[in-house]
Amino acid sequence: MTSVSIKDLSLNFGEVKVLKTLNLDIGDGEFLVLLGPSGCGKSTLLNCIAGLLDVSEGQIFIKGRNVTWEEPKDRGIGMVFQSYALYPQMTVEGNLAFGLKNARVPKDEIDRRIARAAEVLQIEPLLKRKPAQLSGGQRQRVAIGRALVRDVDVFLFDEPLSNLDAKLRAELRVEIKRLHHRLKNTMIYVTHDQIEALTLADRIAIMRNGIIQQLASPHEIYNKPVNLYVAGFMGSPGMNFLEGAFAPQGASELSFGVTRVPLERYPFVSDERPGKVIFGIRPEHVTCGPAAESEPFNTEVEIEVVEPMGADTLVWAILDGREFRFRVDGQSQLREGDRVRIGFDPAKASIFDAATELRL
């Protein structure tokens, strides 16, 4: 049974079409991440699901119930905002209880729920404090608690971690994951940070200009990007893109400049063979040094810049006159100007039609 299902949803502010006939089904207990640059409509979609924005066309179902015209409070959803949106003048306990008191939930039930939420989020010592006295992480947990106590079916997160520093963001990311395992609720999470998406999501929906580019598991999206945009968006440092064309005799080889890449091992998904293509390979899929010999394709490149980053080192090199990046172990002694042999297995690569940018 799908937890949240969106059918032909469109939303336009005046003439601007923000969401264009969008369809999405989210399974029960699934953790779906809406990923995309700012202005791609991901937050707007979340607000539509929450009922904070009236849709122009289409329907929204939660737990099979048509909630398109329902008020947010009747949709069984809880929402956590980027700015936490805690009520500043109330204590943590006040914040948690405010929604319940308003819904006339009996006192003892309120206390029970608060106790449970406090235990799950380890915020028992904070109940009597005011939001101003809490750290960013603690405030975020209280914001989650506010949805938790209302036993909602679906949790909505609107870039909750972007106000925190990197270290705290990593800690809270793990906590949210743990929370998801424990509660098994459906969660819809909006972010522009691909690390959060990759680590948290059961499935990721990459959005651009109001359209879902690809809806798939993190692994699928990272390794099998369905178009050039998704490929470019995921991964940092980003995928290497090399413009090239099929060698004249059939699809067995790809040529750019003087280099020839054998494609027997490449899993084609479409049988089109357009004139110009874009060949993509991720830096970490490239092996360097003596081991490169055994790769189906290997060549020699000259190193231009070396960027040591502690755990590993990113090397900027020139392959057949084009910029090419690959990753090596953190201890490597490579220096600018060295000539080194690199190689990769085309099976891990992606090829896109230069015109339609679609995966071949």
């Binding site: 008020e71 959803i77 500043p88 819904a103 209302r150």
Partner: protein, 297 residues
């Protein structure tokens, strides 16, 4: 070796101090100087011109035994409290309504604020005519049929101060509404979304969440309203002239009449010192909140 000693406190940012001289002069010479001068002369029996024959607290005894003064204090209290409450309530209500992204917001806001541009004398005159039983509201309603409809506050000693209140509110709430609207627009949008998701009705969100958040705006507004109330004078002179009888007297008018009509400066200064005292009672908490409470900068 004194050369490299840190320049004395006095000469640090000299420019700022020079630029602030007018403020310092005003604060010290005019306000402090003037107040001290008034207080000292409130202990003399100066008549038309100030003179140094000290009479101790005689002026104050006469002040608090004068019926006119007691009525003016009572009036100021009634007018002050009610005008504070009503202008805040009406101001906030109108601001909240205008905050609902309605059409014609600009026209409504202009309508509510234009009275602020008029002087108290104009306000007093117009409302005197409107509340006049012979050709104002009372006459209009009587022409419509309710024969014994009486609405003549300005001629009824018990409720004249409320007639003044109507005019005062008409003139003052516009500014309060603006301040409140400014405060509302300063609230983070997510707070509204959060409360809607929590299923809290709008009026409760305003009452229990937004108002507590707007504490600084309320304090500034209170200062501005209160400073207007204490100085209530022209509205009374223009609208009721202190009448009927002495029913709508206010301290500022008592002081003015004592100084110039009765040509008794001593009594006038005694009255004004009392007014300054009430101001201190209002102001000390504000000054504490503004500077004492949160040491900043």
């Amino acid at each position: 070796m004194a050369a490299d000693r840190k320049p004395s406190q006095l000469f640090r940012n000299l420019n700022a101090k020079v630029a602030a001289i007018p403020m310092i002069l005003t604060a010290c010479v005019v306000f402090v100087g003037g107040t001290l001068w008034t207080i000292t002369y409130s202990f003399t029996n100066s008549k038309l011109l100030p003179r140094e024959t000290f009479v101790g607290l005689e002026q104050y005894e006469r002040l608090w035994s004068s019926n006119k003064w007691l009525i003016s204090i009572e009036n100021l209290f009634i007018y002050g409290v009610l005008s504070l409450i009503f202008s805040l309530v009406i101001g906030f209500l109108l601001a909240a309504l205008l905050d609902q992204k309605i059409r014609f917001e600009n026209t409504f806001r202009t309508i509510f604020l234009y009275p602020f541009a008029l002087s108290f004398i104009v306000t007093g005159l117009v409302w005197q005519w409107i509340l006049n039983p012979d050709f104002g509201i009372q006459k209009v309603v009587r022409n419509l049929g309710w024969e014994n409809f009486t609405f003549d506050p300005l001629y009824n000693a018990e409720i004249v101060i409320y007639g003044v209140l109507i005019a005062g509110l008409w003139q003052g709430t516009g500014l309060v509404m603006c301040l409140m609207l400014a405060g509302l627009r300063g609230i983070d949008e997510d707070i509204w979304k959060a409360s809607r998701v929590d299923g809290i009705p709008k009026w409760k969100t305003y009452l229990l969440i937004v108002i507590p958040m707007m504490r600084p705006v309320f304090i500034t507004t209170l200062v501005i309203i209160a400073s207007g109330i204490v100085k209530l004078y022209d509205l009374i002179v223009a609208q009721t002239g202190g009448g009927p009888g002495i029913a709508s007297e206010v301290p500022a008018k008592y002081v003015y009449d004592a100084m110039f009509l009765s040509q008794n400066l001593g009594q006038g200064f005694a009255g004004s010192t009392m007014m300054l005292l009430t101001v201190l009672i209002v102001l000390i908490p504000w000054a504490y909140l503004e500077f004492g409470g949160k040491k900043h900068g």
